[in-house]
């Protein structure tokens, strides 16, 4: 008979936490603290504190639903224990069978975006048209204005869906790419050899 006792000891944020749970369960995209605060009609600081309570309740190993900070907001996802069952019921069309070309293009857009198809083609050395169209269709990248130059090509950036699928809080959560030191030096030497031969 501990429920009456718990009622007495109710955390003052409990009501707000329940409201946040409700908002998060009806949302189909991550909600920022500001959005939650506006919908709950409460202060952002209190919302953050209440989110702490909700997060405690919905963690791996404790619940089939997990609250996570992803793509600049808060969202529920399935727990890893339930992944197999979920996989039997749902497809993952956005990330299934991503080709090497698509992944490289995605990496370029994620790290250097917004960037245009010519930008991508310049780095990869081949036309990026089909890879870009493919990623766009999957909803992993989206148009983001045009190049400033005359006849500016369309520029692309990654979408919040990309961050969600890859479990990133934001693009700044991408790992820093160390400059490839030794490799680059080796390439440079070989190229200089070729250059010397041609001038001779």
């Amino acid at each position: 008979m501990d429920s009456p006792l718990r009622l007495i000891a109710t955390n003052p944020l409990d009501q707000l936490a329940r409201t946040l749970e409700a908002l998060l369960v009806v949302a189909s995209a991550p909600l920022s603290v500001e959005e939650l605060a506006e919908a709950a009609d409460d202060h952002p600081e209190r919302v953050e504190a209440a989110l702490g309570l909700v997060r405690e309740r919905y963690t791996e190993g404790r619940s089939g639903i997990v609250l996570e900070h992803v793509a600049g907001g808060w969202a529920f996802r399935s727990s890893r224990d339930a992944a197999e069952a979920c996989a039997r019921l749902f497809e993952k069309p956005a990330q299934r069978n991503l080709s090497q070309a698509a992944l490289e293009t995605l990496a370029i857009v994620a790290y250097l975006g917004p960037c245009s198809r010519p930008d991508i083609a310049r780095i990869r050395g081949v036309a990026a048209d089909s890879a870009v169209a493919n990623l766009q269709e999957r909803g992993l990248i989206a148009e983001a204005g045009r190049d400033d130059a005359a006849g500016g090509a369309i520029r692309y950036r990654t979408t919040p869906l990309f961050e969600r699928i890859f479990g990133l809080e934001s693009l700044s959560a991408l790992p820093r790419l160390d400059d490839v030191g030794a490799d680059a030096e080796q390439i440079r030497e070989r190229l200089h050899e070729v250059a010397e031969k041609r001038t001779a």
């Binding site: 399935s78 869906l161 680059a184 190229l191």
Partner: protein, 256 residues
């Protein structure tokens, strides 16, 4: 088979090949957005429909498509060719090495993404449009009161007076001119319309002309004008006027 009439159905363009070329040459279509392979496919499909190989069409197509490809390549790498051509072999090697290093880094990034995709494979979450999301109204950006007042003042200016002069126009009755023209024709066998109404106002001239048409309809007069804007000459109706009377009578009854 005429290459220029080849019908295309591409993402960026739909229509005959000829029009596509025209649009590209006029810079109305961005070649970079164009799927050249799609054009080649359309051509090959058309070619396959035929039993014999049309060498002339193939040749023409090759010339056109290779020109398109060259244009597109230049569009994709605008400064590239000039940049690299001007570089000394050493500098070119340096530039190439820089690019290869950049590509290498992106390959590493792609490898990281693939690993991440595998390690995060167990993530399932709800996707879809927000359920009846109430759109938050965006408040107006802060405005300078002085500018707002300026705009309001522009709106508060009294609009210009609209002329109502045309509403006071008085149209004399057509019958007045019918009588007048009949009187003239009793005295003379013919007269000049412009001379007869030259002194009148525009409205009166218009009514006079209506009267004229009415007289013509009943066959009382014949109207001649040698050329547009030439003087209109009016003479008494000919002998066939009775015949015409009957016909117009019939017409009037029917149209009534």
């Amino acid at each position: 088979m005429i290459v220029r009439e080849l019908e295309l159905d591409l993402d960026a363009f739909e229509g005959p090949f000829d029009l596509l070329l025209t649009l590209i040459l006029k810079d109305e279509l961005d070649l970079r957005e164009l799927d050249v392979a799609g054009i080649v496919l359309a051509f090959l499909e058309r070619l396959a429909e035929r039993e014999s190989l049309d060498l002339e069409a193939c040749g023409e197509f090759l010339v056109l498509i290779s020109a398109l490809l060259e244009l597109k390549a230049r569009g994709l790498f605008p400064e590239e060719a000039a940049e690299l051509a001007e570089l000394e072999p050493e500098a070119a090697a340096e530039e190439l090495a820089r690019r290869l290093a950049e590509y290498r880094r992106m390959k590493d990034a792609a490898a990281w993404l693939r690993e991440r995709l595998e390690s995060e494979g167990g993530r399932f979450f709800r996707l879809g449009p927000a359920p009846l999301a109430a759109k938050v109204e965006v408040p107006l950006a802060p405005q300078d009161p002085e500018r707002l007042a300026q705009v309001i003042r522009l709106l508060a200016v009294e609009p210009p007076q609209v002329s109502l002069a045309h509403m006071a126009l008085r149209f004399p009755p057509v019958t007045q001119f019918l009588e007048r023209f009949r009187a003239v024709l009793r005295r003379r066998s013919r007269f000049d319309f412009d001379q007869e109404v030259g002194q009148l106002s525009r409205v009166e001239q218009a009514v006079a002309f209506l009267a004229l048409l009415d007289l013509r309809r009943t066959g009382e007069i014949t109207i001649e004008q040698s050329a547009p804007f030439a003087p209109i000459r009016i003479s008494r109706g000919g002998q066939e006027s009775t015949d015409r009377d009957e016909r117009t009578g019939e017409w009037t009854v029917r149209s009534a």
